[in-house]
């Protein structure tokens, strides 16, 4: 018998499943179309795989480098290590490496290809602003990203977008500079016209695929954030501490210049709050993180459930 207080969020899971299904369907559709058109896209797929694999494999190093994060020992940062130790023991997961980025921007991120290779990084700015309960909430959120293997999931999900982006770019440059089609050879004038037309069509389709896949991965990313909030809050048992951390940090994030973090934004790191601060002003469709209201709403729902009688 296992007793719990928090109901699983089936709606969130259903939405996530549907998004993943759409990404998969788009992928299958595009592949089928490419094969039917008889195009040789092996080169593109090869490059997309290499790029994404490097991003995935070296995600910890890339993100730490971009954020100027430095791994710290328990002697250097006893409090941070202490919190991570305890949360890992509560969640029964291996302890990730712990790093600190020496910047006043209040944020935290988790990255790494697997829970064993993961690294959790907090900025000195977030450690200065939050009290230990709030910091614990933030670390719980980041550890949930690690447990959910979000780096792997998002890398796979973004594959088609990267491939489509590559095709668009390759065709654009080959048109512009007349390097010839990467997909075929020119034998005579007639087939050259056909090839040009074909290339234009492929370029347009690639752009459309890229746009759709971009929207879908962003949607998935927002759902993963909500999931991480949820698991983190359940782990610490203090949704309100996470909520107050969110309020403190997002308010600050919107006010400060974004340059530093924007450099890190394309990499596979799971920030606590959006690294791209102007994500707040543009349509929520493009945002990697759900709106603050949505996150707070979910957390207060969990807080309510915590106070209710147990479900067996």
């Amino acid at each position: 018998m296992s007793t719990t207080r928090i109901r699983p969020d089936h709606k969130l899971q259903a939405r996530m499943t549907f998004t993943i299904f759409l990404i998969g369907a788009l992928y299958v559709g595009v592949m089928a179309a490419l094969i039917a058109a008889g195009l040789n896209v092996g080169v593109v797929i090869f490059f997309a795989v290499v790029i994404l694999f490097c991003q995935y494999w070296f995600s910890d190093k890339i993100a730490l480098y971009a954020m100027h994060g430095r791994e710290v020992t328990p002697q250097e940062a006893p409090e941070l290590h202490g919190i991570v130790d305890r949360l890992c023991a509560l969640a029964d997961m291996p302890k990730p490496r712990v790093a600190i980025a020496d910047t006043d921007i209040p944020n935290a991120f988790a990255t790494g290809r697997s829970p064993k290779k993961a690294v959790v990084c907090a900025t000195s700015g977030i450690m200065r602003r939050l009290d230990s309960d709030e910091l614990e909430g933030v670390l719980g959120h980041e550890l949930s990203h690690v447990a959910h293997r979000d780096v792997a999931v998002m890398t796979i999900a973004s594959f088609l977008g990267v491939a489509a982006g590559l095709i668009t770019r390759m065709l654009f440059y080959s048109e512009m500079f007349g390097f010839g089609s990467p997909f075929g050879d020119r034998r005579n004038n007639n087939s050259q016209d056909n090839t040009a037309l074909m290339m234009l069509a492929v370029m347009v389709v690639s752009m459309v695929v890229y746009a759709i896949s971009f929207l879908l991965t962003r949607t998935l990313s927002r759902y993963r954030e909500l999931s991480a909030d949820r698991s983190g809050a359940i782990l610490t048992g203090r949704p309100s501490a996470l909520a107050s951390a969110l309020q403190k940090v997002t308010g600050d994030m919107a006010r400060i210049p974004t340059h530093d973090l924007r450099a890190a934004e394309p990499f596979n790191a799971f920030f606590f709050t959006p690294a791209l601060a102007n994500g707040f002003s543009i349509s929520s469709l493009f945002s990697t993180h759900p709106s603050l209201e949505k996150r707070l709403e979910q957390l207060s729902e969990i807080a309510r459930e915590l106070g209710q009688p147990a479900i067996v």
Partner: protein
């Protein structure tokens, strides 16, 4: 976590394993014989307090459960909060009553678990001393169902040699946590 959990981005709270706790009395005998370490009669349960009335009410319940004994003069129970915001419920009995201590600690654990806060259980610590060196603790990790020794020297150093010595002796009696990176320090835990 299975593949489906990964895809859906959900994680189940790890369930505590309370059973291995009962292996302690036999381990205590071994420790006494091999390293002259005797229980001090102090044991504690460390919980992550959840917010909300449900947990607060439960704490009162546990308190009531444990203070019943106190009226009879058999022991003493304390509650304290450490710097990480974790609650330590400490039980003090006589050194020779290790079985009773384990039963009391188990009562606290099962009360919390049955009320749906099993996920909030962090560890149990039982203190041992040889009367000369600093007190050592045997720490039980609920989520792993395994023990590890913790021998602090002062507030920020640990005696790894002694911890490994204890591990070597207890291998047959207790399930010892094999991943050394999970032997996290509990500085300043009650009873140490």
């Amino acid at each position: 976590m299975g593949l489906l959990d990964t895809v859906l981005g959900r994680s189940k709270a790890a369930k505590p394993n309370l059973d291995e706790l009962f292996a302690l009395p036999s381990a205590a005998v071994t420790l006494q014989a091999a390293l002259d370490l005797n229980p001090t009669g102090v044991g504690s349960v460390c919980v992550k307090p959840a917010e909300g009335q449900a947990f607060a009410g439960l704490q009162d319940q546990v308190e009531a459960l444990l203070t019943v004994d106190e009226a009879g003069g058999a022991g003493k129970y304390e509650e304290s909060t450490d710097s990480y915001g974790f609650t330590w419920l400490t039980r003090r009995t006589t050194p020779d009553d290790i079985a009773g201590l384990v039963a009391d600690l188990h009562a606290v654990n099962s009360t919390l678990d049955e009320a749906g806060f099993g996920g909030a259980l962090l560890c149990t610590l039982v203190a041992f001393s040889d009367g000369v060196k600093p007190t050592v603790g045997l720490v039980y990790l609920y989520k792993r169902g395994a023990w590890y020794p913790f021998a602090p020297i002062g507030m920020d150093k640990r005696d790894n040699k002694r911890e490994l010595e204890i591990r070597a002796q207890l291998g047959a009696d207790l399930k010892i946590e094999s991943d050394l990176s999970r032997w996290f320090p509990v500085w300043g835990a009650p009873g140490l």
